[in-house]
C-alpha cells in the first residue's frame, strides 16, 4: 500500500496491565458531563464511542486524501482507493479471513444479513426448505429470513432457549434435517449476553452440508474472531459497535459461496462491462458493492481495528469479563433485582429487571445521574416474550469501562429503588 494515515500514539500493549485510564483518555466523549455528572456510558451493545484516532482518521481523509474509489486516474482517487482497500485488508486480518476478496463492505450487520438472504437465499432456498435460527436472535436475524420465506415458500425453524438463556442444543440437532438449507445464528446475544457454542453448531451443520451464517455484531467487538478456525460460511458485524463509524459494516463470506451468489444491488462498481444486451459482473468483492461506498468510514473502521489490535482482543475480553463478574456479583446483592440471561458462557452484558420499577423509569432516573443504559426489548421481542417481561434494563460494557462505573450503576439502582419504595 502506497499510502497510510498519519501515525498517532497508541496505547501500549501490556498483557499484564490493562491501562484503562490511558484508554479512557483516548475517547474524547468520556469527558462529557450529563446533567452535571460525569458520563457513565453503559450502552455499548447499542453502539460504542470512538477513540480520537478514529475521529481524526475521518477528518484526515476528508482534509487530505478524499475522492471516489476505483474510478479515477488522479492522485486523490488513487489515495482513497489505496486507503479503502487497506482497510479491507485490516478487516481481513482482524477476523483471519483467507483473502481480502472475501470481505464485503456493507452498511452494517443488518445489511449483511439481508444481502445473504436475498442473494444466497434467493438462489438456493425454495418452497419446502427450512432456515434454522434461534429464539435469541436480534430482529435483524429474523425479519430478513421471514421476508425470504414469504418470497420462496420456505419456512423458518427456531431453536428454543432455556431459562438461563442458553440454546437447547438437543433441539438444535433435532431441528437440523434434510430440508435445512441454512443455519443463521447470533454469536453473542445482545439481549442476554449469551455466547453460543458456534463451533459445535457449525460442525453439526457442516456434517450435513448445511452452511452457517454467524451474526457477529456483538462478538466481534468483544472477543478474538477467527473465521478460518470457526469455518463459518458467512460472518457479519457492524463498525459502529466496534469503536468505528456508523454506516459501515462487514460481510465475510467464503470465496466459493460468494462467487456462486448472484449480485445484491445493481449499479456502478459492481460491473465489469455493461451493454444494453448484457452485463458482466465485477469480480469479488466488488460484485456486492454497488455504488459509491462509505469511503472515509471504511478507512476509519480500519483505524478502529488498528486501535483494538494494539490493545489485543484477548486483553479486551478479559477486562470486560472482570467487569461483568463484578457487576453480576454486586447485582446479586440488590433485593428485587433479577438478572435475565445467566448463561455459563457470557459476554459483558447485564440484562435485568427490578421488582415494581419499570425499565423505562429506571432509564430516565439513571440518566439523571449521568448513567446511560438501555431500557427496552433490545430488538429481541421474542426473547422478552420468552422471559415474560415487557422489557429489561441492560448495562453493556466496553473496554473503556471501569469498576467505579459499575459502582456508580449499582448505587444508582439503589437510589431508583428508594425513590420507588
Amino acid at each position: 500500500m502506497s499510502i497510510a494515515l498519519a501515525q498517532r500514539p497508541r496505547p501500549v500493549a501490556d498483557p499484564h496491565h490493562f491501562d484503562v485510564a490511558r484508554i479512557r483518555a483516548d475517547f474524547p466523549i468520556l469527558a462529557e458531563t450529563i446533567h452535571g455528572k460525569p458520563l457513565v456510558y453503559l450502552d455499548n451493545a447499542a453502539t460504542t464511542h470512538k477513540p480520537r484516532a478514529v475521529i481524526d482518521a475521518i477528518s484526515e481523509v476528508y482534509q487530505r486524501h478524499y475522492s471516489n474509489v476505483h474510478r479515477g486516474v488522479h492522485t486523490l482517487s488513487q489515495r482513497s482507493t489505496d486507503l479503502f482497500e487497506g482497510a479491507r485488508e485490516k478487516v481481513r486480518g482482524f477476523i483471519n479471513a483467507a483473502k481480502a476478496r472475501e470481505i464485503v463492505f456493507v452498511r452494517g450487520t443488518t445489511e449483511a444479513i439481508n444481502l445473504v438472504a436475498q442473494t444466497y437465499g434467493r438462489a438456493n432456498i425454495g418452497a419446502g426448505d427450512e432456515i434454522l435460527i434461534t429464539a435469541m436472535e436480534h430482529h435483524s436475524n429474523i425479519v430478513p429470513w421471514q421476508m425470504l420465506c414469504a418470497q420462496t415458500g420456505a419456512t423458518l425453524q427456531v431453536v428454543p432457549i432455556d431459562r438461563r438463556g442458553e440454546l437447547d442444543m438437543e433441539a438444535f440437532e433435532r431441528l437440523l434435517n434434510d430440508r435445512t438449507r441454512l443455519v443463521s445464528v447470533v454469536h453473542m446475544s445482545n439481549a442476554l449476553g449469551t455466547v453460543n457454542p458456534i463451533e459445535t453448531i457449525i460442525d453439526r451443520a457442516h456434517r450435513r452440508g448445511i452452511p452457517v451464517m454467524v451474526d457477529g455484531a456483538q462478538s466481534a467487538p468483544h472477543m478474538p474472531i477467527d473465521v478460518h478456525a470457526l469455518d463459518c460460511d458467512f460472518f457479519a458485524f457492524s463498525g459502529h459497535k466496534l469503536y468505528g463509524p456508523s454506516g459501515i459494516g462487514v460481510l465475510y463470506g467464503k470465496e466459493a459461496l460468494l462467487k456462486a451468489m448472484p449480485p445484491y444491488q445493481g449499479g456502478g462498481d459492481m460491473i465489469r462491462q455493461v451493454t444494453f444486451d448484457k452485463t458482466e459482473y465485477n469480480e469479488l468483492p466488488y460484485k456486492f458493492e454497488a455504488g459509491t461506498p462509505a469511503i472515509a468510514d471504511a478507512i476509519a473502521l480500519g483505524t478502529a481495528i488498528d486501535y483494538l489490535q494494539e490493545i489485543g482482543m484477548t486483553a479486551v475480553a478479559e477486562h470486560e469479563h472482570r467487569l461483568l463478574s463484578y457487576a453480576t456479583e454486586r447485582a446479586m446483592h440488590i433485593p428485587g433485582l433479577t438478572v435475565i440471561g445467566t448463561a455459563h458462557d457470557k459476554g459483558a452484558i447485564l440484562s435485568f429487571t427490578l421488582e415494581r420499577v419499570h425499565p423505562h423509569d429506571v432509564g430516565t432516573l439513571l440518566d439523571q445521574l449521568g448513567i446511560a443504559i438501555r431500557a427496552g426489548h433490545h430488538c429481541a421481542m421474542p426473547v422478552m416474550d420468552f422471559f415474560g417481561v415487557p422489557a429489561t434494563v441492560r448495562a453493556s460494557f466496553a473496554l473503556y469501562n471501569t469498576a467505579q462505573e459499575v459502582d456508580a450503576l449499582m448505587d444508582g439502582i439503589q437510589q431508583v429503588i428508594e425513590v420507588f419504595a
Binding site: 427496552g376 415487557p390 422489557a391 431508583v416
Partner: protein, 150 residues
C-alpha cells in the same frame, strides 16, 4: 441526588402508579381497545362504556412504566362523565401540553392532568404519557384494532 426529576416523578405519579384507579375490567363495555407502545413494550387495554354519547364508565388493565400507568389512571378519572366531544377536546389539550405546544393552555385549568406536563422535558417519555390517550381516541373512533404509539 434524584431530586431534579421530581418535575416528572411527582408524588401524585407514584401514587397512581402504586394504586392505579379504575384498574379493572368493565364486563358490559361498549368499546374495548388494546394499546401498545412497541418501543418499551407497554400495553394497556382500555374499556369504555358509552351511553348517548357520554362516557358513563371507563377503566383499564395492563402493564407499563410509572408514567404510562399514572397517565392512564388519571385519564380514567378525568374523562368519566364527559361527552365524546369533550373527551376529544381534552385529548387535544393533553397532547399539546405534553409536546410543549401549549402557550394558550393554563396549567391551573388542567387540574389533575397538570402533573404530567413535566413529561415534555423528556421527549423519550412523551409516548408513555400519551399511550392511554391515543387508545381513548381510537376507542371513541371505534377503531377495533390495536393502536400503537409508533
Amino acid at each position: 441526588m434524584l431530586d431534579q426529576i421530581r418535575d416528572l416523578y411527582q408524588e401524585v405519579v407514584f401514587d397512581h402508579n402504586r394504586n392505579p384507579r379504575n384498574f379493572r375490567v368493565i364486563d358490559d363495555a361498549t368499546r374495548k381497545i388494546d394499546g401498545f407502545n412497541p418501543l418499551c413494550g407497554d400495553r394497556i387495554t382500555l374499556y369504555l362504556k358509552l351511553r348517548d354519547g357520554v362516557i358513563e364508565d371507563v377503566s383499564f388493565q395492563g402493564q407499563g412504566c410509572a408514567i404510562s400507568t399514572a397517565s392512564a389512571s388519571i385519564m380514567t378519572e378525568v374523562v368519566r362523565g364527559l361527552t365524546e366531544q369533550q373527551a376529544h377536546e381534552l385529548f387535544a389539550t393533553f397532547h399539546r401540553i405534553t409536546t410543549g405546544q401549549d402557550d394558550d393552555v393554563k396549567l391551573e385549568d388542567l387540574g389533575k392532568l397538570a402533573v404530567l406536563a413535566g413529561v415534555r422535558a423528556y421527549p423519550a417519555r412523551v409516548k408513555c404519557a400519551t399511550l392511554a390517550w391515543h387508545s381513548l381516541e381510537a376507542a371513541l373512533a371505534d377503531e377495533a384494532t390495536t393502536v400503537s404509539t409508533e
